[in-house]
Symmetry: C2
DNA sequence: CCTAACGTTGAAGGTAGCTTTAAGGTCAAG
DNA sequence: CTTGACCTTAAAGCTACCTTCAACGTTAGG
């Protein structure tokens, strides 16, 4: 199958597939005499695997080191290790998010808790001082590869101006 | 106070402070006759406010539109609105993280649940098929400005090679 | 007077993950 | 024989948030 069909089947754009090949995430594919790339059925599964791994929070670099040349022969130990560490990363992130959330909730409460005898300016100062005072231990996230979510997992990184329809599921 | 001292007090680098000024996040400061920037005490609080807002998930753009020219006079309605929406963003992220987490946990379980009579290659195929089959509704995150965490909230975006010590909090 | 530490600027670089563009070649239908 | 849909490449652009560099001026201390 040609790249366009693979793109349709996988929900990725052709440029993205070529990009993955360029950075060595996909091994170089066979070419037809005319230079067109030609993919085996399995390619759909590989791409599905990659996007799934991305949504789980793996970087393309990580995915590359984990992906075996042959889909049937994985490095079991390394894979399990990576999965386990990624879960730990997620949990660290969850802790930070939870912290940010209560921080914001407390801030809202604090703003609304303006004493009757205080004007807005003074209240602003009170809230500010409170907020800057409470800087807890900032939840030291030990793992360095927090790369979950953000753009990668966003709806679609939309170019300035017009939107594309592009499958992307 | 000069920029170096402000940097020390705030924990930011001078380049970062100048950068903030350049993008209009900080209003242009007074200069001494020699051209050096000179900051009022309040600047420390403003920078603290900015980094705190960043850690809560606000982009510099958002912060700029929220920051009043005068720290005492906020746009109460807009601020509350932004805070509320940011909390909603966080909650959406939390839901996605939770989903990713159970996804990974189930994957681990599935890998380990290899039937005794199945070899590794066949098991790999079984797991892969299972995994690609279960693509739930993907938790439609509605809010578009999910920009929480990631680099911004990372330890320190370390340049390739050597590390710096730079305060950073 | 020299040196080190600080300040200034504009421009360029870096990250991650793509997309877009430019400039072309190929192919099937009408 | 033309049109339009597809394919190719290398290179540049995009986003957000800074850092780094080059080239220079200023200032405090010994």
């Amino acid at each position: 199958m040609k790249i366009g069909e693979l793109a349709r089947l996988s929900g990725l754009t052709p440029s993205r597939i070529r990009f993955y090949e360029r950075i060595g995430l996909l091994k170089t594919v066979d070419r037809r005499p005319n230079g067109y790339r030609t993919y085996p059925q399995q390619a759909v599964m590989i791409l599905g695997l990659i996007t799934t791994a991305q949504r789980a929070g793996f970087t393309l670099d990580e995915i590359r080191t984990l992906l075996p040349p042959d889909l049937e022969h994985w490095d079991h130990a390394t894979l399990m290790d990576a999965l386990t560490r990624k879960i730990a990363d997620i949990e660290a992130l969850q802790a930070r998010l939870a912290q940010s959330r209560v921080h914001l909730l407390r801030l809202i409460e604090d703003i609304q808790a303006r004493p009757d005898d205080m004007d807005c300016a003074a209240n602003a100062h009170r809230v500010l001082t409170n907020m800057l005072a409470e800087q807890p231990e900032a939840l030291d996230v030990t793992s360095d590869d927090i790369r979950l979510l953000d753009k990668t997992n966003r709806r679609q990184s939309v170019s300035p101006g017009r939107r594309k329809k592009m499958a992307s599921r």
